[in-house]
Symmetry: C2
Subunit: 889 residues, 2 copies
């Protein structure tokens, strides 16, 4: 065995030279590669070494035995570390302490934590006490080592150590760990060793090499820990990658006034301003900063007190930023005057800062436009478009629901849509609080500043409508109990009455009592510049889902290139219309329905005229009536009585009609084109309204591109019949107006059967729009209104990675979409295809749409910029096979 050439399992870093490099993540893991990179940049990093992923894999292959030569390499490199640091593991005068950390190719939250202070034992603590003159510090470090080693490496329940610590504090009648004396801690170390012995059957190892070996084994072992295996399964990370193990010498910032520690950012993470943004503590450990025990000083203090270290730090931060070409978050420690960099990674930042940094760096020629575009997380753009709660303000959070529609809102509580509208008429700002909303609440939702519901998920009615309106919404807030009759809601014992002020944070889902101060972020010049770049690289079209001219205007301002979904039914709920709609539903025969439809025609037409005017020159996809008719009838006793009074239809008849229209599963019931097939006069009226509006504007030389969309097609014959009806009606209108409008007729692909038979259906469709909300509901067999009872549990347990109503399920629903695209284009090669489900505004889903060759995505107005960015990124990612470093800020 000795004869055989031995593989290199261990990569050293330290003293300005590393065996590895930044691009060796496969072998060294992300952390190890980063430490090597910094070392090679001649940046002072505490010396150490990484054991490769290959070493880990062979360890498992050999039945948890080190491959030949590996341990020898560890020892060899340990010597190099000792030499570089001028210390020695286990030395009775100048002992070396090390940390041991796992580090796989991909960051994995399920993996082992860090074990610090390895190398401490009864010999070395004495040396260290002598060296530092700080007995308390040393015993504190020792008890931490036993805790970490005991729990992380040996699997002892951490609570056992915590309990002993708590008991000690009780005995000494102190509140904080830091109030314990050196003697207390020494006693605690003794107790911890007993706990260790009792739980493992062996003594706490005094041999530092044994400590090290066990820690390495634990790092390797964590690769097949339950959480790690599950995480990999969910994230499609292969089991055979293995993890690297990083051993690095410890440095301390609390060895006197010539020591210190600090953290910082290379630019201001809040504004993006180009200035060094850091804080420090003199004679302190990194943990002290994090724990908030002492108030950190501005970085200028370091310049005054340790000018040499500061100067070095200044040079390093500039160098690192230039090297990584990004804003960085750094950690450093000064040990007895010597500066060490402990960590450098890309820094988190606000959306405004992200935008400013990206644009500045392009100007500084650090990065190119493409990189700048890939740097911004589309989701984060949202922050720029909505009011926010002033981060400096103190708020009282009383409950938390789902962050259903971003932004913030302040207003007085109202419990019904009517109250909301009344209050809004008086100029009052209100928050509409409902158990759940229904289409009848639209007016009230529109009048309110924000919406809070007790039931419903991210794609409940309230959430979808609020997002469409760009209005803040917290949905599914189970903690609140709404009493709309008595006009209050409760959260546990707290009663919030009508008229009291509350504040909603739709970005986090928080509900606050009182009026929090809001700030309205400006769409600065940066935003405009950036979005212009985005459009240079984007291939996928971006349209909007908009039902009103107001929404259409907002969306056009945000860059929408058309309407991908205009839902006609929302127009039906306006007070002056709903009565005609109800008259139609209550009609006994076709004639009765037609009479009511005649009243609706001019109203619908005027809506379309308004929308067409706003969207002139751009395509407008109008979906004919989709929801089941019972959604338009009142269901509460008093509403029924009111309707009976106004229509002179007997209450009993109304109830009977409600009963007759009631459905077990309305989602799978008499809706969509099934209404058009059974009551053709309804669709006929809608087509007439669309075409009359289009013809009138065309005569005014305004370019109108209507796309008439038939919903819920399951069988080609449905579309054939509805297309015939549409074409016949449209031709008749055009003849009457003596003008031509280039309209098209298409369908939604929102049922699995439609996707499966997309080749047959294509014969009668000019375009397809994937309705991924319903496609997800049907293919998953999952009602989005009911999923709240188990979907959160599914996500918590990792059964599903994401809420499939928020992020498109690519393996299931996505495959159906691909089948639909392929079969449709087999028949009509260049058929226009888009998506109009909620997923059209989700970046991951937008990327998928780009990949499968859709022509456009359509989303709510406020998500249009997000979709534009996601589309540009998809196209850039596709172009470049290079490993473009994408920052998730």
């Amino acid at each position: 065995m000795a004869k055989k050439a031995v593989k290199k399992y261990v990569y050293y870093f330290g003293g300005g030279k590393a065996d590895g490099r930044g691009n060796m993540k496969d072998l060294l893991g992300g952390k190890g590669a980063g430490l090597a990179e910094m070392t090679n940049l001649k940046i002072p990093v505490p010396a150490g070494f990484s054991i490769t992923t290959e070493g880990c894999n062979e360890y498992f292959k050999a039945g948890k035995k080190y491959p030949p030569g590996m341990w020898e390499q560890v020892i060899e490199n340990l010597k190099k570390v000792e030499k570089a640091m001028g210390t020695k593991l286990g030395d009775s005068v100048n002992p070396l302490l090390v940390s041991v950390r796992s580090g796989a190719k991909f960051s994995m939250p399920g993996m082992m934590d860090t074990v610090l202070n390895l190398g401490l034992n009864d010999t070395t603590i004495n040396a260290l006490i002598k060296k530092t003159g700080n007995e308390r510090f040393v015993y504190d470090a020792y008890r931490r080592l036993i805790t970490m080693f005991g729990s992380i490496v040996m699997g002892i329940d951490r609570q056992r150590f915590e309990k002993a610590l708590e008991e000690m504090k009780e005995k000494k009648d102190v509140r904080l760990d830091t109030d314990l004396t050196a003697e207390d801690l020494r006693n605690l170390v003794g107790e911890f060793k007993i706990i260790y012995k009792r739980n493992t059957g062996e003594e706490f190892p005094v041999d530092p090499l044994e400590q090290l070996k066990k820690a390495i084994n634990a790092v390797f072992g964590s690769w097949f820990g339950d959480r790690a295996v599950k995480y990999r399964k969910l994230n499609d990370i292969p089991d055979n990658l293995g993890t690297a193990c990083n051993i690095q010498s410890m440095v301390f910032g609390n060895l006197g006034d010539n020591s210190g520690t600090g953290v910082g950012f290379t630019r201001d993470p809040s504004t993006g301003q180009k200035k060094f943004f850091a804080e420090c503590l003199i004679n302190a450990q990194g943990e002290d900063v994090v724990a908030g025990i002492r108030t950190p000083l501005r970085i200028e203090e370091l310049r005054k007190r340790l000018p040499k270290a500061y100067k070095e730090l200044y040079v390093i931060y500039k160098k690192l930023e230039k090297h990584y070409k990004d804003m960085l978050d750094i950690e450093f420690t000064v040990q007895e005057g010597k500066l060490y960099m402990l960590q450098t990674r890309v820094g988190k930042r606000t959306a405004a800062a992200a935008l400013r940094i990206a644009i500045d760096m392009v100007k500084e020629k650090l990065i190119d436009k493409k990189t700048a575009i890939l740097r911004i997380d589309p989701q984060q753009l949202d922050q720029l478009l909505h009011p926010m709660i002033d981060p400096k303000s103190q708020v009282k959070i009383i409950a938390k629901g789902l962050p259903a529609s971003p932004g913030a809102a302040v207003g007085k509580v109202v419990l019904t849509a009517e109250d909301a509208e009344r209050a809004a008429d008086k100029g009052e700002k209100v928050i509409l609080v409902r158990a759940e909303t229904s289409p009848e609440d639209i007016g009230g939702m529109n009048a309110a500043q924000g919406i809070l519901t007790a039931r419903g998920g991210m794609t409940s009615h309230a959430a979808v409508v609020a997002r469409g309106m760009g209005k803040c919404c917290v949905a599914g807030c189970g903690a609140i109990n709404v009493n709309e009759v008595q006009k209050y809601f409760t959260v546990n014992d707290l009663v919030v009455k009508e008229g009291e002020y509350i504040t909603l944070n739709g970005t986090t889902g928080e509900v606050m009592l009182g009026q929090a101060p809001l700030v309205t972020p400006e769409l600065t010049g940066d935003f405009g510049i950036f979005m212009k770049w985005v459009d240079e690289y984007r291939k996928l079209g971006v349209r909007t889902n908009a039902d009103t001219s107001h929404d259409s205007e907002v969306a056009r301002k945000f860059g929408a290139e058309g309407i991908g979904l205009c839902r006609t039914e929302h127009m039906f709920f306006a007070p002056e219309r709903i009565s005609a709609v109800r008259e139609m539903i209550l009609a006994d025969d076709t004639e009765g329905r037609k009479k009511a439809l005649v009243k609706l025609l001019p109203m619908q037409k005027s809506d379309f005229i308004e929308i067409f005017r706003v969207m002139k020159g751009l395509p407008v996809t109008i979906r004919l009536l989709d929801p089941p008719l019972h959604e338009f009838l009142p269901h509460a006793e008093e509403d029924i009585r009111a309707l009976a009074a106004s229509t002179e239809v007997p209450v009993e008849k109304l109830k009977a009609r409600n009963k007759a229209l009631e459905e077990f599963n309305p989602m799978l019931g008499h809706r969509g084109c099934r209404l058009g097939v059974t009551y053709p006069e309804i669709y006929e009226m809608q087509v007439r309204a669309i075409m009359e509006a289009a013809c009138e504007l065309s005569k005014q030389k305004i370019k109108i591109i209507p796309e008439i969309m038939i919903p819920l097609i399951g069988h080609v014959n449905e579309l054939r019949m509805m297309r015939e009806l549409t074409v016949k009606t449209a031709d008749e209108v055009q003849k009457r107006y003596n003008t031509k409008v280039s309209y098209t007729v298409g369908t939604m692909i929102e049922l699995p059967r439609a996707a499966i038979t997309a080749d047959e259906i294509a014969a009668y469709a000019d375009f397809y729009s994937f309705g991924t909300n319903d496609l997800t509901q049907t293919a998953f067999g999952l009602s989005r209104d009911d999923a709240g009872r188990f979907l959160p549990y599914y996500i918590e347990k990792g059964i599903l990675e994401n809420d499939p109503f928020v992020t498109l399920d690519q393996k299931g629903i996505g495959v159906l979409m691909k089948i639909g695209v392929e079969k449709g284009r087999k028949v009509k090669k260049h058929m226009k295809m888009g998506i109009c489900g909620e997923h059209g505004g989700d970046p991951q889903s937008v990327e998928f749409c780009h990949k499968i060759g859709l022509d456009y995505v359509s989303c709510s107005p406020y998500r249009v910029p997000i979709a534009r960015l996601a589309a540009a990124q998809s196209s850039l990612k596709e172009k470049s096979k290079k490993d473009l470093s994408r920052t998730t800020v």
Copy 2:
């Protein structure tokens, strides 16, 4: 043009020799080929000729012009007909009359009807009057010609002629057409000619050749008529087949006492007995038999009165049967002593007759076993398994619903399940009449003779459960209005009270007042012999859906080879269990649920023991709990109060629980494995019950093959988790009993996403069972409970060819199944796969299952023989590429 060799467009038949043959359906159409075949058999057929489908196609290709030579061939063949018949078209002494009929390759109900009596004009009627001495007959024929020619060929509204006829009858104060005199009819002919002129702008053509040409053009034109085009689209018949056109000389059975007409069957169509079964009329037309104006005579009368014709007929019927090797339906006419055969086709027959004829013909060596098997329509077998209403009885039909479960039942009306059970306890026979049924009604349904519901389709709860029980059911009978409080139902003005007798015919959907006499068909020896043959050729396994030991016994008797679906939830409704089930649902936490489950365990276990005993040696697939929990709670106010009283749970809490469990779309809600994932203790109890039952019987040396099936899997992780739970529980039970049972764990593929990801899911499944009920609901986006509002309309309008819940939709749902089979077997090559949806008992669907390679189908006990036959036929059809003549009786 004259130089070019001209194609043969016209095929003559007559005088014992035909240009065509029986296998030339492509060219001559079905009718033309049949006439040619009979002619070649030397059977006397009135002479005629067929214009080919090719002629039709070229006619359209040339812009509705005859191809060169075709008309000349018509004239030429007309001459041959004249020669054969000794008459001449338009002749003033001995005129020839002909009929013109369309005839495509496939029988097409949308095509042109027949035009009779072509050749009549003012000249020929005189000749005919002279010849027949029957002026009335001739004018009657003439007015019929003008009506048929005017309406069918020229498109005049038939009503116009009918109206004139009615007015004439009023004027003459007679009731029947036959009461009109020759003079009346002559006058009518005059009026008809005026109607013809007014509506076409031209005179009724007196030139027989012009009549002929126009009729031929009309036959061709009917190929592209709206109804025909639509019919072809729906039935996937290509447009380019074209239709043939048959011109045949007319013969008359009413030219005196040496003339006559008749119809008959070559064997008894009711019993299958081998004897000539025919009727005749002397001096009469075929129409007179059909119209029922005269009472037909037994065929023996023909022997007495026209012995020569009878003898000839006797020889011909024997010859035809031998030639066609099947029981035939024949039509004949004797014109002045000479016998002509007008039609021969395969005769309709009862199930019993079909079986007897098939078996007899095998014994007579006329056909082989395979042919016999292919001769029987599987659907028809059903007739043999259920009681029937005595066909001789007089019944009063008061309403008609859907034929939801076959057979017949007589009983007193009861309106609630409790009443049904009470009455049954007293030994009374009752019919349970409900607006709709729910799982709470199971006991009552079981106690009743039959079930009648006002709502719900062919796969509603009532229908599915009734079919499972083999019990007669009429569902979705919209005409009845049920008042269960006042205990009556109404049909229009008719009130039927509790206790009154009604009769149901589940085979036709008819509801009758009073007690109709029933007959119970015996499973004769024929049935047993036949089913044995069937199994010799069958490859597909046939299992049953059974939830009780009684159903299992019935199914085993019918030949089931295992249970494909045992629904555990039906067991939950038994009165002694439902309280424990409700206790579980009402529990506040896992502990409470477990306490209730402990009570359920022994009950479930004893159920499984019973079923396992019956099915010993055969596999039993048990599906774990599937329906949402709210189905087990009472919903009516009084039921809630009763439950509150018995459980000491406050009414308010019960209502709150109901409210909390309420779902918008229960079909897509918290059910199936989602229950198992969120309340693992429920599935754990069920697995324990199954395995304890299996272990106990195994110890008694009874072979048990349990297959544990997890419902409603949408994502592989659900199955992974449920499989782990199952295996862990099963291992624990086996260890406790110290025995091994070879159980398997599989899943239903009943969501589109499961089919799409069947490769992923296969890793954790030992078998797949396609749940095509739910797969149809989800892929079509169609709730079977709600579809009643539009599905009948869809089928009526031809949007859907079949109810997709009855016959599998092969183009949509079938494709998903294929994807599931292929993806599953890509991972596990020999994975066992079956179907357990209602489609498992539908012959067309069984054939599809055979084709896509399933291992078995599973259906309700009473459909097991049907599935066996359908499976055998599928396998025979696959084997033989020859055009086996399949009879649909």
